[in-house]
C-alpha cells in the first residue's frame, strides 16, 4: 500500500483509468468513425502546449465527483472524423459538421464513462471549442493518447474546474 492510499481521494471514487478510456474510445471509433483503421494506444497523454488549430470536444459529468471528459484533436483530424461520421467528402465538411461530430464523440465517451460511476452522476451537454491551453496534467484523473493513421487523439478525464457538482 502506498503512503497515499489510506487517505480518501477523488481518485478513490473514480474507477476509470487510462485503459478504460482507451477501451471506450476504441469501441466508439470502430463503430462510428473508422472500422478499418483501429486506434493505437500510445499510453497516457504527454502534456503539450496548446497548438493552433486544435479542437476540443468536452462534456461535463456532474455529481458528487464532478469531472470533464475531453477529446483533443487537430482541426484536420476533426474534419476527417466528421466526414466519416456524415459519410461525405472531407471537402464538404462545414464547421457546424465538425462541432456536431466532435461533440458527439465526446458525448459518447463521456456517457460510457458516466455509466461506470455512482448513480448520482449525470451528463451535461457537449461543447466544442478551439484549444486555448494545453492539457493540465494536475487535473487529469486518467488520460490516453491514441494514434489514428497520421492523427493523434488525446482523451482526458479531468477534475471539473472549481469542483462544483452542478
Amino acid at each position: 500500500m502506498s503512503p497515499d492510499s489510506a487517505a480518501p481521494s477523488v481518485e478513490a471514487d473514480i474507477d476509470v483509468d487510462s485503459d478504460v478510456l482507451v477501451e471506450i474510445t476504441q469501441a466508439v471509433w470502430a463503430s462510428f468513425v473508422d472500422p478499418e483503421v483501429p486506434l493505437v494506444d500510445l499510453g497516457p497523454c504527454v502534456p503539450e502546449p496548446a497548438e493552433a488549430g486544435v479542437v476540443v470536444g468536452s462534456v461535463a459529468i456532474l455529481g458528487p465527483v464532478p469531472t470533464v471528459l475531453s477529446v483533443r484533436l487537430s482541426a484536420g483530424a476533426a474534419s476527417d472524423v466528421a466526414a466519416r461520421m456524415f459519410d461525405i467528402d472531407t471537402a464538404a465538411v462545414s464547421s457546424a459538421d465538425v462541432q456536431d461530430a466532435t461533440g458527439e464523440i465526446a458525448n459518447m465517451i463521456g456517457g460510457n464513462v458516466k455509466a461506470m460511476l455512482p448513480e448520482e452522476h449525470r451528463l451535461g451537454l457537449p461543447s466544442v471549442t478551439a484549444a486555448t491551453v494545453g492539457p493540465d496534467p494536475d487535473a487529469a484523473l486518467a488520460s490516453a493518447t491514441l494514434l489514428w493513421g497520421e492523427h493523434t487523439l488525446l482523451v482526458t478525464l479531468d477534475r471539473r474546474p472549481g469542483g462544483s457538482s452542478s
Partner: protein, 120 residues
C-alpha cells in the same frame, strides 16, 4: 412504417437512420426532431409507429418526452438510443414505459435484434 428519430445531434440522427437501413429495415418513412419538445409536436402531427430518442438533449430530455407522451395517453412504441446505458437509466427508461434502451456505440446487429419485434 413511420419512425421518429429524436436527437439534438444531426450526425447521430443520420447514423441512426443509416443503421436502421444496415439492419435491414428498408423503406421506412423517417421523420426527425432535435429535442423532446419538438418530438411531441412531431408525434402529434405525424403519428409515427415508433419513436427512437436520445436521452440527454436541450429543451426537453428524452425521459421527459416519454413521460409527457404517456401522460397524454399516447402509447406509441418508444425506445432510447443513448450514450448512457447504466442499469439505473435502463430501470428509469423501463419504468417510464420505454420498450428498450440501446447504448451508443451500437451495431446494426443490435438494431436488428432489438427492433425486429416492432418493425418486423
Amino acid at each position: 412504417m413511420k419512425v421518429l428519430v429524436v436527437d439534438d445531434s444531426r450526425v447521430m440522427r443520420q447514423i441512426v437512420v443509416r443503421t436502421l437501413r444496415q439492419a435491414g429495415f428498408d423503406g421506412l418513412d423517417i421523420v426527425e426532431a432535435t429535442n423532446g419538445a419538438e418530438g411531441l409536436d412531431v408525434v402529434a402531427s405525424e403519428g409515427p409507429d415508433m419513436v427512437l430518442s436520445d436521452w440527454n438533449m436541450p429543451e426537453m430530455t428524452g425521459i421527459d418526452f416519454l413521460t409527457t407522451l404517456r401522460a397524454r395517453g399516447d402509447s406509441t412504441p418508444f425506445g432510447f438510443v443513448t450514450s448512457e446505458g447504466s442499469a439505473e437509466m435502463r430501470e428509469r427508461a423501463a419504468g417510464a414505459g420505454a420498450l428498450f434502451l440501446i447504448a451508443k456505440p451500437f451495431s446494426a446487429d443490435t438494431f436488428a435484434d432489438t427492433l425486429a419485434p416492432i418493425l418486423g
